[in-house]
C-alpha cells in the first residue's frame, strides 16, 4: 500500500498561521473569561476542570508543533512531560532552586535538550518509524525515572512532591487561585510565543517539511536543522506542561502520571481539536478531558441503578471509544474546523474565497 506518511499527514486545515489565530477582540474576551473563572465558579471547576484543560492544551500545543506543523508523529509526549516534571524536582531538591517559575523554565530547557537528542534519528527516518523512535523514548523514560533513586531523592517509593517553593511570594502548594493564575499566565505567554513562531520563517519551513519533506530539501531548506528544532521546541512545551501537571495540578506525582496512555491522550487532543491549529489544542483538551466526566455523570444518572458497577465502568470505556470513532468519521479535521463551518453557516453566507481554498486543499486527504 503506497501511503507515504509525510504527505498523508498533511492536514486539511489551512496552514496559513493567520487563519488559525482568532481576532484580538475574541482573544481578549476569552482571556477575561478565563481570568474570571475563580470568581464566578467553584473551586472544583477552577482547579479540576479549567486548570487541567489548560495544561493538557499546552501539552497538545507542544505536540502539535512537532506533529501538526512539522509532520513528525510522536507517541512520546508523556515521556517528555515526565522529563519536565522530574527536571523541576531535581532542580528544586538537588539544585537548591527555591523559586518555582525559574525551576520550571529551566526544566523546559533541559527537556528541550533531551528532545533534541531524541529527534536526531528522525533526520534519517520517516513516518511510522519516527513514531517508534518516540515510543522508544517513552519507554526509556518510564524506566529511567523509576530505576534511579536520585530522581526521587532516594525515597522508598518513586513518587515526587516538591518541597515548599516560592511562587512569587506564595507557596506552590498553597491556594488553588494562585496556582490557577500562574498556570493561566504561563499558558498565555507560551501560546502567544508559539503563534508568533509559527508565522515566522521557522514555522513556514516546518510546514514545508511537513508537506513535502524531499522537496523542502530541494528548495534549500535545511530540513535536518528545522526538524531538530521542532523536536527541541516541542519538548520545551511538553516539559513545562509536565511540570505544571505534576506539581501545580496534582501536587504529588510519579512516573505513573506520564505513561503511554498520557501520550495517546495528548495525541487524541490534537487530532480531535485539529492538527495545525493553536486553539484546537485547547478545544481538544477540553473535549478529551471532559468527555469521560460527562459520560460518567450521564451513565450514573441514566443507567446507574439498572446495571452492575462493573458493567457501568466498562460501558463508559466502550462509549468513550465509540465517540472517538464517530468523531473521527464525522469530523476528521477536528473541532476547530467544525466550529469554523458552524459559524459560517450561522452567518448564512457563502464560503469566502479563503474557505474554498481550504476545501480544495483538503481534497487529497479524503
Amino acid at each position: 500500500m503506497s501511503v507515504t506518511p509525510s504527505s498523508a499527514l498533511r492536514p486539511a486545515v489551512d496552514s496559513n498561521p493567520l487563519a488559525t489565530g482568532s481576532s484580538p477582540l475574541a482573544i481578549g474576551l476569552l482571556l477575561i473569561a478565563l481570568i474570571l473563572v475563580p470568581f464566578v465558579s467553584s473551586e472544583y471547576v477552577t482547579q479540576v476542570i479549567v486548570m487541567p484543560v489548560l495544561i493538557l492544551g499546552l501539552a497538545g500545543l507542544g505536540l502539535n508543533l512537532l506533529t501538526g506543523y512539522t509532520g513528525q508523529i510522536s507517541l512520546g509526549a508523556g515521556g517528555f512531560m515526565a522529563v519536565g516534571a522530574y527536571a523541576t524536582y531535581a532542580l528544586a531538591v538537588h539544585g537548591g532552586i527555591q523559586f518555582f517559575p525559574l525551576a520550571i523554565v529551566l526544566a523546559g530547557v533541559i527537556t528541550a535538550a533531551v528532545g533534541w537528542v531524541f529527534g536526531l534519528p528522525s533526520v534519517r527516518i520517516k513516518g511510522f518509524y519516527v513514531m517508534v523512535t518516540s515510543l522508544a523514548a517513552q519507554f526509556f523514560f518510564e524506566w529511567l525515572f523509576l530505576k534511579f533513586p536520585w530522581f526521587y531523592n532516594f525515597g522508598d517509593v518513586p513518587t515526587i512532591s516538591l518541597p515548599p517553593m516560592s511562587l512569587f511570594g506564595f507557596d506552590v502548594d498553597g491556594s488553588y487561585v494562585v496556582r490557577y493564575y500562574f498556570t493561566l499566565s504561563l499558558v498565555v505567554v507560551l501560546t502567544w510565543m508559539a503563534s508568533n513562531l509559527i508565522s515566522s520563517h521557522v514555522g513556514r519551513n516546518w510546514m514545508a517539511i511537513r508537506d513535502m519533506d524531499t522537496a523542502a530539501g530541494v528548495i534549500g531548506i535545511d530540513s535536518k536543522k528545522y526538524k531538530s528544532l521542532a523536536f527541541a521546541i516541542s519538548a520545551f512545551y511538553l516539559g513545562i506542561a509536565g511540570a505544571l501537571w505534576g506539581f501545580i495540578f496534582l501536587g504529588t506525582t510519579s512516573i505513573g502520571s506520564f505513561q503511554i496512555d498520557r501520550s495517546f491522550q495528548i495525541l487524541f487532543i490534537i487530532i480531535i481539536g485539529g492538527m495545525s491549529s493553536i486553539r484546537g489544542n485547547y478545544i481538544g483538551a477540553a473535549f478529551i478531558f471532559l468527555l469521560p466526566l460527562v459520560i460518567d455523570h450521564a451513565a450514573k444518572t441514566f443507567v446507574g441503578d439498572m446495571v452492575s458497577p462493573g458493567f457501568l465502568s466498562n460501558l463508559q470505556k466502550f462509549l468513550f471509544g465509540v465517540l472517538i470513532i464517530v468523531f473521527l468519521i464525522k469530523e476528521p479535521d477536528g473541532i476547530d474546523k467544525l466550529l469554523r463551518q458552524l459559524t459560517a453557516r450561522l452567518w448564512r453566507r457563502t464560503p469566502t474565497k479563503k474557505d474554498n481554498e481550504r476545501g480544495a486543499q483538503s481534497e487529497p486527504n479524503r
Binding site: L30, V45, T159, G310, S313, L339
Partner: protein, 448 residues
C-alpha cells in the same frame, strides 16, 4: 472577525454546558439534615487490575448493604455509596477526590477508600488540607503509621514494612529458628514500582540483624514474560523466595518458577500476591504456595453466615459469581475494610452523636478505635481480623498476619497470627516519618 467571535462563543457554550453538567456533582456540605453517610469508593473495575479489584469492592459493598438492610445503618445512619472508576490511575483518583470531597446530598465525606497505594500517595497532601481520612489497610506509605506526621492516612492492620517483618518471622519459623537464618539466601521478586519496593528497607535491616543474604530482583510491569527473571533466581540458589508481585505478574511468576524447578513450598507471597484470582491461572504450579494474610480467605467465619443469609441469598450481592468468589481473599479484604470503617464510625458517633460524620470526626473515631476479642466475636470476625488498637501515634493498630497455603482449590491457614518485630520496624518508620516531615516542612501535631 464576527465569525471568530461566534466560533469562540460556540466553544464557550460547549465548555459551559460541560461545566454545568459536571459541576452539579459537588455540593457544599450542609450539616446534619441528611441521615445518610456518603461514602465514595475509588474503584477499578476495568483495566489491568480489575480482576483483583472487583472482588474487593464487592466485599465492601456487600458489607455496607448488610449494615443498611439488616441493622438499619450505623445507629440509624445509612450508607450512600458512590463509585468512581479510576482504572488504578492516581491522576484519575485526584479528579475523583475533588468531586467527592465535598460530600453529597447534605452528607459530608467522612473517609475515602483509595484501594491503591499510588492513589494514597497522590492524595495525602490534599487529604491533610481537607481533613478527610484516607483508608488504605495493608497499603499506603509505611511511615504513615505515625499518625502525628500523617494524621489523615490509615495503613491499618499491617504496613508494608510490617509485611516484610512478618515474612522473615515466618521463614525463620519454617527453618527452625532465627539462628538458622544465618547465611541463608532470601530472594525477593518484586513489582518494579513503589509498592514492590516498599519493604526493601526493612528486609535490608533484618538481613543485617539475622545474617541472611537479601537479594532483590525487579520485574517490570505487567510481567507477562519472566523467563529471564527466574533464570536469575535459579542461579542465586535461594533458600526462600518472597513474591511482592501484583496482578498478572503473580501467576506468571508461579508458572515460570515451577518451570525453573524452584520449590513452590519455599515461596511466600505478600498480601497482594495472595488471592484466588492470582492462583487460578497458575493451575498446578500454585499448589503449596503460601501467602501473608492479614485477612485470610474462607467462608467459615461468623460474618460470612450473616452476609450470606441477608445479602447473597436475597440476591443483593455485588459479586458477579457468588458461587465461586464468596469468601475469596479479596472479597474478605472488602468485608474487613468496610467493617473497620463501620467500627470507626460507631466510636465517633458515641462522641459526636448519631448523624453523618465529617472527616475530622471520623479521624477522632478511628484514632480511638479498639477492637478486642469480644468485639471480634460479636462481629463474627474471629480469625479473620486481628485485635486492633488504633491511636494517634499508631495508625496501623494491629501489626500481625496469618499465613495461608494454596491447595489447588482454596486457601488453608497454616499459622496463627504472626506479630511484626516492632523493635526493628518502628525505628525505620520513625526515621522515615521524620525525614518526610522535614522535607515537606510539616510540624508533627501534638495530641491532648
Amino acid at each position: 472577525m464576527g465569525k471568530h467571535l461566534l466560533s469562540l462563543g460556540a466553544a464557550a457554550a460547549i465548555a459551559t454546558s460541560a461545566f454545568l453538567s459536571t459541576s452539579v456533582v459537588p455540593t457544599a456540605p450542609a450539616q446534619a439534615e441528611s441521615m445518610t453517610q456518603y461514602v465514595p469508593l475509588f474503584v477499578y473495575r476495568t483495566g489491568p487490575y480489575a480482576s483483583s479489584g472487583s472482588l474487593w469492592f464487592a466485599g465492601e459493598r456487600d458489607y455496607f448493604t448488610f449494615i443498611n438492610e439488616v441493622e438499619g445503618g450505623v445507629n440509624g445512619v445509612k450508607f450512600d455509596i458512590e463509585e468512581f472508576e479510576t482504572e488504578y490511575n492516581p491522576d484519575r483518583a485526584v479528579e475523583a477526590y475533588e468531586r467527592a470531597k465535598g460530600g453529597k446530598d447534605g452528607s459530608p465525606t467522612a473517609f475515602i477508600m483509595t484501594h491503591s497505594t499510588p492513589a494514597t500517595y497522590a492524595l495525602m497532601d490534599r487529604a491533610r488540607e481537607d481533613k478527610i481520612p484516607l483508608f488504605d489497610p495493608a497499603g499506603g506509605p509505611s511511615e504513615s503509621k505515625n499518625g502525628l506526621v500523617f494524621p489523615y492516612v490509615f495503613p491499618l492492620l499491617l504496613t508494608f514494612y510490617g509485611q516484610g517483618s512478618v515474612a522473615v518471622n515466618f521463614i525463620a519459623e519454617e527453618m527452625g529458628g532465627f539462628e538458622n537464618l544465618k547465611d541463608k539466601k532470601i530472594v525477593t521478586v518484586y513489582h518494579d514500582s513503589g509498592y514492590g519496593r516498599a519493604s526493601q528497607p526493612v528486609m535490608a535491616e533484618l538481613a543485617k540483624k539475622y545474617g541472611f543474604i537479601d537479594v532483590q530482583i525487579p520485574v517490570a510491569h505487567p510481567g507477562s514474560e519472566q523467563a529471564a527473571i527466574w533464570r536469575q533466581v535459579r542461579a542465586e540458589k535461594p533458600d526462600y523466595v518472597v513474591l511482592r508481585t501484583w496482578g498478572v505478574m503473580t501467576p506468571v511468576a508461579l508458572k515460570t518458577a515451577k518451570r525453573f524447578g524452584i520449590d513452590t513450598s519455599k515461596m511466600l507471597g505478600d498480601v497482594w500476591a495472595g488471592s484466588k484470582a492470582d492462583m487460578i491461572p497458575a493451575g498446578d504450579a500454585a499448589i503449596g504456595y503460601k501467602a501473608i494474610a492479614p485477612y485470610p480467605g474462607g467462608t467459615d467465619f461468623g460474618v460470612h453466615a450473616k452476609v450470606k443469609e441477608h445479602v447473597l441469598d436475597t440476591g443483593k450481592t455485588n459479586l458477579a459469581n457468588p458461587d465461586e468468589d464468596f469468601g475469596a481473599v479479596y472479597y474478605n479484604i472488602g468485608l474487613v475494610n468496610a467493617a473497620l470503617a463501620v467500627e470507626g464510625m460507631r466510636v465517633a458517633m458515641k462522641k459526636f452523636g448519631n448523624r453523618p460524620l465529617t472527616g475530622e470526626e471520623m479521624l477522632w473515631g478511628l484514632e480511638h478505635m479498639t477492637i478486642d476479642a469480644d468485639r471480634l466475636e460479636e462481629l463474627g470476625m474471629t480469625g479473620l481480623l486481628q485485635q486492633l488498637k488504633v491511636t494517634p501515634y499508631d495508625h496501623e493498630g494491629g501489626g500481625a498476619a496469618r499465613i495461608q497455603e494454596w491447595n489447588g482449590n482454596g486457601w488453608t491457614l497454616v499459622s496463627d497470627w504472626i506479630e511484626v518485630d516492632d523493635s526493628v520496624v518502628d525505628p525505620l518508620i520513625e526515621a522515615k516519618a521524620a525525614a518526610y516531615a522535614a522535607e515537606q516542612g510539616i510540624v508533627p501535631r501534638t495530641v491532648e
